[in-house]
Amino acid sequence: MALISDDLLTAEGLAPAHLGRVLLIACGALAHEVLALKRVNGWDHLDLQCLPANLHLYPDRITEAVTRAVEAQRGAYDSMFVLYADCGTGGLLLARCQELGVEMIEGPHCYSFFEGNAVFAAHPDEFTAFYLTDFLVRQFDAFVWRPMGLDRHPQLRDMYFGNYTKLVYQAQTNDPALDAKAEDCARRLGLAYERRFTGYGDLAVVMAQAAAT
């Protein structure tokens, strides 16, 4: 399968291939990880639809976007799973998924479930950390630098990040080029750098549950 462009996943998402009986409706930021898990586990019965990753710039739009996707595919698959965590919806996405009768990922956000919700919750003192995943490192300019206006107004950097102390790169894969880019992101934000290999964390667990249905 050809590599899907990150720009496409950010702005437009990914349409389902209509191959498979279980549909995963995921954030575009998870597409590469979901497809990797699908591939290594031979989960050919899982189909993937991604919503644009840049919905995360407007978390209040996520619940409705997921709802529309679920309703549009209702009846086309044996079952559906929502591969979003709370993602800034303040519990609204969970409530809606319960109404719709579909399961979603537990936890506050992907930084938590990639590390494992239990592990992430065990270091509440880390609230001055700014997290990036593989996808967000690759899309740093589209997700962080430009939306915050730092390309046009670099003097705003410390108004945004002055209270942060470090950038934690949660690595899903071992890629020296991404590691170097993440370290450069930390430098641009004026933050200390830490790389933390997480692998796929609870995402693999949830996908195994979806695959077993």
Partner: protein, 231 residues
């Protein structure tokens, strides 16, 4: 020098105030500072300079932010420009005894380091004549309560950006109730993931969706409180 460059000192008062609204909108800090100094040198009171030039200008910025015309970076630049003007005016306002609307203690809740919204609210409240004690970020219930005891403000303002930290506002309000001090204060809450329903559910007096709403709500509730006390 470009031919079309505007010389602020050459403008009439009305023109200068309009120009300062534009300069605030464009986030031009040095121009705002210059404009403030010109108005003061022409005999404007610090209070009039603050309200007619700065606050009125920021109100336009706030309205355009609410309507999706301006975005966070532009609002931050405008706020930074206003901060420059406020820095000049603050000592003058104290010296001239400008009208006082009331007092507010404000801070971001425990576990949360995001202060952009909180800082905007604090600045606009100061602009509206409130005395503001800013507790900064990551405030425990103990720190909020200590500040309330110390300052005896009219208003407690709490801010959170994260869905994981906003429930802490209820911890603070519940503790105030336990200690029998909840009714002594107006409690305003705000932050991107909050909404009116959440504000009601945790027992706040009001949820404020932006700095302009916070100012208007604060004015109305302080007035109501004072009326109740004098009735």
């Amino acid at each position: 020098m470009a031919d079309d460059e505007i010389i602020l000192a050459d403008l009439s008062d009305d023109e200068l105030v309009m120009q300062m609204h534009d300069d605030l909108y464009d986030g031009l800090k040095e121009e705002i500072e210059e404009g403030v100094n010109i108005l003061i040198s022409r005999g404007w009171t610090p209070y009039d300079t603050l309200t007619k030039a700065l606050v009125a200008g920021m109100t336009i910025v706030g309205a355009d932010f609410r309507d999706g015309i301006l975005f966070v970076p532009e609002v931050l630049l405008a706020a930074n420009a206003m901060k420059g003007g406020m820095f000049i005016l603050k000592p003058l306002l104290i010296a001239t005894g400008a009208p006082r609307m009331g007092k507010m203690v404000i801070g971001t809740v425990k576990g949360d380091i995001h202060d952009i919204g909180k800082n905007l609210v604090g600045m606009m409240m100061e602009g509206a004549g409130f005395e503001v004690r800013d507790l900064g970020i990551n405030n425990s219930v103990e720190k909020y309560l200590a500040a309330l005891e110390e300052e005896k403000p009219d208003i407690l303002g709490m801010s959170a950006l994260l869905t994981t930290t906003m429930p802490y506002m209820k911890v603070v309000i519940d503790t105030m109730k336990e200690k029998g001090m909840r009714e002594d204060y107006i409690v305003l809450v705000g932050g991107a993931p909050l909404n009116e329903e959440f504000g009601k559910a945790i027992g706040a007096d009001a949820y404020c969706r932006d700095a302009a709403v916070a100012v208007e709500t604060a004015k109305a509730l302080v007035l109501r409180k004072h009326n109740q006390l004098t009735a």
